[in-house]
Amino acid sequence: MDKKRLTKILARADRREVAAMSAEILKTCRPVILKEPGKTLAMIKMREPVKQSLFYIGEVIVCEASVEIDGARGIAVLMGDDAEKTLDMAIIDAAVNKGLFEGESKLLELEREQNAEIMRENALFLKTMVNFESMDGEAPNDLNAFKKA
């Protein structure tokens, strides 16, 4: 599992789920905290479609932490200020890098639940999709109409 997928599942998960996974790791090893969880900023870089250039829309508060398990380092960066969850995520990352993490099936289960939740929410939004009914049988093609206007 790549880091983006791993961190996406963990970031979306309830902090108690993440804490439970971290607690499993702590049963067998003692991570060294290299960087205590603390707040910092991330600047958000966007690409606009008109001239295809880059700009910064603003910043977001993130919490970061770094740990080490038997020489394997792990980090976490998470939007918001949940220090405990960030530390737990760093521990999980270090365990993954050390090859000690055994919770992949749990991660996949969480991912399925998260995706289902997002898709249910998406269904709510899609219910507001407009079905246009033309009142003119000879309505012109939209794009062509716009060009003539």
Binding site: K3, T7, A42, Q52, Y56, I61
Partner: protein, 354 residues
């Protein structure tokens, strides 16, 4: 008149600050931060946008602290932000792939991906609903959760931009990707003519009322003709930062809600016409600001004699903190400078009243 330094008022100031709580003490009821964050979310979005800081809970906290005053809340967030380091820059945010919650086009009725109204006040009756005063929010939440749980999941599909079709047809200019590092106006004040990145960042952070008013002036005739909203999209965009130990990996840090707009205008293209586009993007659900930003982006590209087309005018007068700070300072003691003005006026009027 000699210059006389004065001091005083310390106790009065302390009492004045204490009195702020008096204005909040008219009820035993408190308003929870979570309630502000979720029930006044458009206000929270506005504060985050104008502060240039996406932090919902802190924006809600700031609003509670200052009795819902937008400019004070912006000030508080900016001040807090200045105490933090900035250790990360996100990867380029893919707004084309955003999880759409609302998307409309005023240019075409049939767009790939469809027109999704999402949640909007556009079609509501603007009549005060007095039942809200008696609403039991627990029930409202339970009802919505039940509604959500009853949905049949629908896969999330990214929607291509409306402007893509026009570019393919050659009606809109196609630009190559420009990877020039953006200017950061929080670190460097823009010089004029400003880089495009400075313009967009400044407008994204600008006061909603200022941006809207200027765009309105343009629509009323102090600028180009009526633009068309080619696409307004609101949705969740993923934020990722590079993974420290492997440059080929990235870390998902969360998602933010954004509103993005492209407006179209007709413009000369030597012996024929073409379309041009203006762009707006803001934190949260703040459609009018995003549309106004897109209008101003296009006005500034076009240039001209009106205020909305004057880059320095537009980009230096819309920052909430700066404008309100400057206006606010007018009420602070100006005893010496005003005395000087008074002396000058008196001199011109003779000495009969001395």
């Amino acid at each position: 008149m000699a210059y006389v330094a004065v001091s005083g008022g310390r106790e009065a100031i302390e009492e004045s600050i204490r009195l702020l709580d008096y204005h909040k003490s008219g009820t035993d009821k408190d308003i929870e931060i979570e309630a502000i964050e979720n029930k006044l979310s458009l206000l929270v979005d506005r504060v985050m946008s104008e502060a240039g800081l996406y932090a919902k809970t802190y924006a809600a906290l700031a609003l509670k602290q200052c009795e819902g005053c937008v400019e004070e809340a912006v000030f508080l967030l900016r001040a807090y932000r200045s105490t933090l380091t900035r250790n990360y820059y996100t990867n380029e945010v893919d707004t084309e792939g955003m999880r759409i919650v609302r998307r409309v086009s005023a240019a075409f009725k049939d767009i790939v991906g469809g027109q999704i109204l999402g949640a909007t006040y556009d079609y509501t009756h603007r009549l005060i609903d007095f039942r809200i005063g008696e609403e039991i929010f627990e029930d409202a939440r339970k009802n919505m959760q039940a509604l959500l749980a009853a949905q049949t999941p629908e896969p999330v599909a990214p929607c291509p931009r409306v402007s893509d079709g026009l570019r393919k047809e050659g009606l809109l200019d196609v630009c190559a990707k420009n990877d020039q590092k953006p200017l950061d106006v929080t670190m460097n004040a823009p010089v004029f003519p400003a880089e495009r990145s400075a313009r967009l960042q400044t407008l994204a952070r600008a006061d909603t009322g200022f941006v809207s008013g200027l765009a309105y002036s343009s629509l009323r005739g102090f600028g180009q003709a009526h633009p068309t909203v080619g696409e307004l999209r609101c949705g969740y965009a993923e934020l990722c930062v590079p993974y420290l130990f492997d440059e080929n990996e990235s870390v998902y840090i969360g998602e933010i809600l954004l509103t993005e707009v492209e407006c179209f205008n007709a413009a000369d293209d030597t012996d024929r016409l073409k379309l041009t586009a203006g762009y707006g993007a803001v934190f949260g659900r703040n459609e009018n600001k995003a549309i106004a930003m897109a209008v101003l982006d296009r006005e500034l590209d076009a240039g001209g004699r009106y205020p909305a087309q004057n880059e320095e005018f537009v980009l230096t007068h819309g920052d909430s903190l700066e404008m309100n700070g400057f206006i606010s300072h007018l009420k602070l003691p100006h005893y010496v400078t005003f005395q000087s003005k008074l002396d000058a006026v008196r001199k011109t009027r003779g000495t009969e009243h001395e």
